[in-house]
Every structure is written in C-alpha cells, then in structure tokens.
C-alpha cells in the first residue's frame, strides 16, 4: 500500500497521521507534526543534523521511513526539556559555548543525551567517537566535547 496510518509516540505524546510510504521520518516530524527542531543538512546520510532517538537510540531520521516508526517511540530535541526546565545536556551546551549557528545542535544534543544514558563518564575520545556521525562547521568540536563533559558531571 502507498499510504498508511501510523501511530508514533513523540516526546511522550501519542501522535497519529496518515502518511505516504515514502515519507521520511524527518519530514513527518518537521512538516506533519511541526516539530522543526530536527534539521536536514544533507541528502546522503552523512551530516547527522536530523538525529532523533528511536526507541532510545540515536538515529538519522532522514534515513528512516515514518512508517518504520509506527508503534515506536521517538524523542526529539523538543522533548529534552521538562516543563520549561532545561536538561543538563542543554545547559552544558549553553554554558560551554557548544553551539554557534545552532543548526547541527539538536542532533548533537540528542547524540550527547543518548551517550550519557549509557556512559555516565565518557572520556574525550569516547565523546568524539559518539558524535562522529554529527557534522559541525562552526565550532571545531572542542566546545561540544566540553559541553557533554559538563552535562556528564551535572548528571553524576
């Protein structure tokens, strides 16, 4: 079938929509749900600006079909804050100047958030490895590493 009704839990809320089979998850989030925090930066699955959590794992939402997310849980950057309170990963990026233009930032935040869930004290090398699927043109990565380290310390 070329059209499907999908039910996806996004940032804790159940969302339902009828979508084309070919609709990319990133477009579902941005255009159908109007959650524009997740960005698109390339067309060959390289840049990672589209990173969201799918069932807790950071994935490139430009390379997932919306229909594949049916019945599953998605978390986007908009889901990091709780009742206006920033998550430590967000605080870290603000504190340590981990962003400049902000375009790669949601992807970095989601990857950083996921890393700290499985590794509460990552080394610099582990952080760099974890974000190696997220490209940034502005920061040169040094402060992004510091931002994640800040968040790790805060969460411990």
């Amino acid at each position: 079938m070329a059209k499907h009704t999908i039910r996806v839990t996004v940032n804790g809320s159940a969302r339902e929509a009828e979508v084309e089979s070919r609709l990319l998850l990133v477009h579902f989030l941005r255009e159908v749900l109007r959650l524009t925090g997740t960005h698109i930066g390339c067309d060959t699955t390289h840049c990672g600006a589209c990173t969201v959590l799918l069932d807790g794992n950071p994935v490139k939402s430009c390379t997932v079909l919306a229909v594949q997310a049916d019945g599953r849980e998605v978390m986007t950057v908009e889901g990091l804050e709780k009742e206006g309170q920033l998550h430590p990963i967000q605080e870290g990026f603000w504190q340590e100047h981990g962003l400049q233009c902000g375009f790669c930032t949601p992807g970095m935040l989601m990857t950083g958030y996921a890393l700290l869930k499985s590794n509460s004290n990552p080394s610099e090398g582990e952080i760099r490895q974890a974000i190696s699927g997220n490209l940034c043109r502005c920061t040169g990565y040094v402060n992004i590493v510091k931002s994640v380290q800040y968040a790790a310390a805060k969460l411990r």
């Binding site: 070919r22 067309d43 490139k60 390379t63 997932v64 990857t111 974890a130 699927g133």
Partner: protein
Amino acid sequence: MIPASFDYHAPKTLSEAVALLTRYREEAKVLSGGQSLLPLLKLRLGQAGHLVDIGRIPGLEYIKEEGGYLKIGGRTREAALERSDLIRGKYPILADTAAVIADPLVRNLATVGGNLAHGDPANDHPATMLALLAQVVATGPKGERTIPIEKFFTGLFTTALAPEEILTEIRIPIPPPGSGGAYIKLERKVGDFATAAAAAQVTLAKTGEIERAGIGLTSAGPTPIKAREAERFLQGKKPDGAAIAEAARLAAQAAAPTADRRGSVEYKREMARVLTARALQKAVQRAGGE
C-alpha cells in the same frame, strides 16, 4: 533527496515476508536496517515498487554460540555487535569490523545481514566473513538453505540470494583455541567506505606455526576478495615478519581495485598489502603469538 513512490509492507512473520517477496519478486526489496537501501532510494537510484520491511518479525536479532557456531541473527544491529561482551571478548575481529561501519548513528540501525545481502564490495562485513569462513542462512519459500560465504558474493551488488529469499542468519564456525583475528580499515574520514581494508583470521598451532589463515579484502574488486594464495602460503609457516610480508604481497596481487576519489589502482593495491600485513600482525598477536 525524496524517494519515488513505493508500496510498503510490514509483515509480522517470516513466512508472510517470504510470501510477499515471492509475489513481487524483482519489484520487491527487503528493508532491514535501511541504511544502504534508503540512501539509494532517496537518490532515485535503484527501483523498488515494494518495500518488505522485516523489522517487525521477531526472532531475527540474536548473538549466540550454539552447536559449534557463533550464530548472528540477520537483523542484528551493528551497534549490538559492537556492544556485545561475547563479541568483544571472543571475536574481536567482528568488533573491529562493526566499529568502522559508517558512523555510530548509522550503526544503531544497520544490520549485519543487510551489510552482507547488499552485495557491495565496499561494505565491511564481507571481508571479515570470508576470513572467518562463515555461512549464510537464507530463508525462502522452500525453507532454509545454507550458503558458504565463498559462494555468496557473485557479482557487483549481486549475491546468491534468490529474489524471494531473506538472509536470516550468519553462522561462523567457532575458532579453536590459539585463534585470533583483526580487521583494519583505511578510510578518508570516519563514515567513509574503505579506501582499502583487510580482515585476517589465524589459528596457530601450539608450536607456533599457522594452521589456518583466512584473509578477506574490502573494496578490492567487483566482489569482496578472498586472498586464497596468501592463505595457502601461510599454512604451516611461522608468522614472522618475512612470512607476513610475503602473504601481504600475495594478498595485494589478488586485489583488483578500481580507481576513484579514494585512490588510484596502484595506491589501493599497495594499501591492501600494507593493511593485510597489519591485520595479520594483530591477528597473530591476539592468537597468542609474538
């Protein structure tokens, strides 16, 4: 970056999936991790009227030792392989390989089965599986059949899988004690396909000679390459510098890379040599030698 229209199916059982593939045959493509297929569809390269998503079928993700084999479910994510204590402890060659496939985000979705079934000589698992003498289990309308890995890669983007078959398991004979393996990849940056890469798996006798060697090469031809001459040469030899150097030289001879932005034919062939030597050195070290 927008794919052409297609129909999407999400069967809940293997037999449903096989039935769909049987019905749609060449018009259908299996969607496993989607990290090779979806990028192609987004660029509108490769047609697929029907996508058969095997992501809802239970029982296809596992890593276990059973009956003398390491068995990996076809839909096992690369990230799971990377994280598995069993793999890291006992099969570091597979941990090496998984760790250099694309990037960590892609590895959360990409599957081992998909990496093999895509038939791309630039994918990383094929060389490793050739070195390990793995077997591929294909499930089709007539049930399961086992395909030895040396017969699996038949051409560029072509494998021995029939259109109505799904790669459901990879079986690796558990190496005997005194074995070790390594995968070394040269890439222009993290996330790239290999400029060149080599997988080496050795088993050493108690007296130190190589009882068995397996060498696979990535991005070295239209299919993944098994460096048979190099393997044969190493049998019975002590794994010293000279033997490794000669085996590496023979492996490079088996390579027939194509020139592209990653390198000229000459450079890629030379790198096959350099990396085979390094992979062998590491494999021997892990096997308990030198």
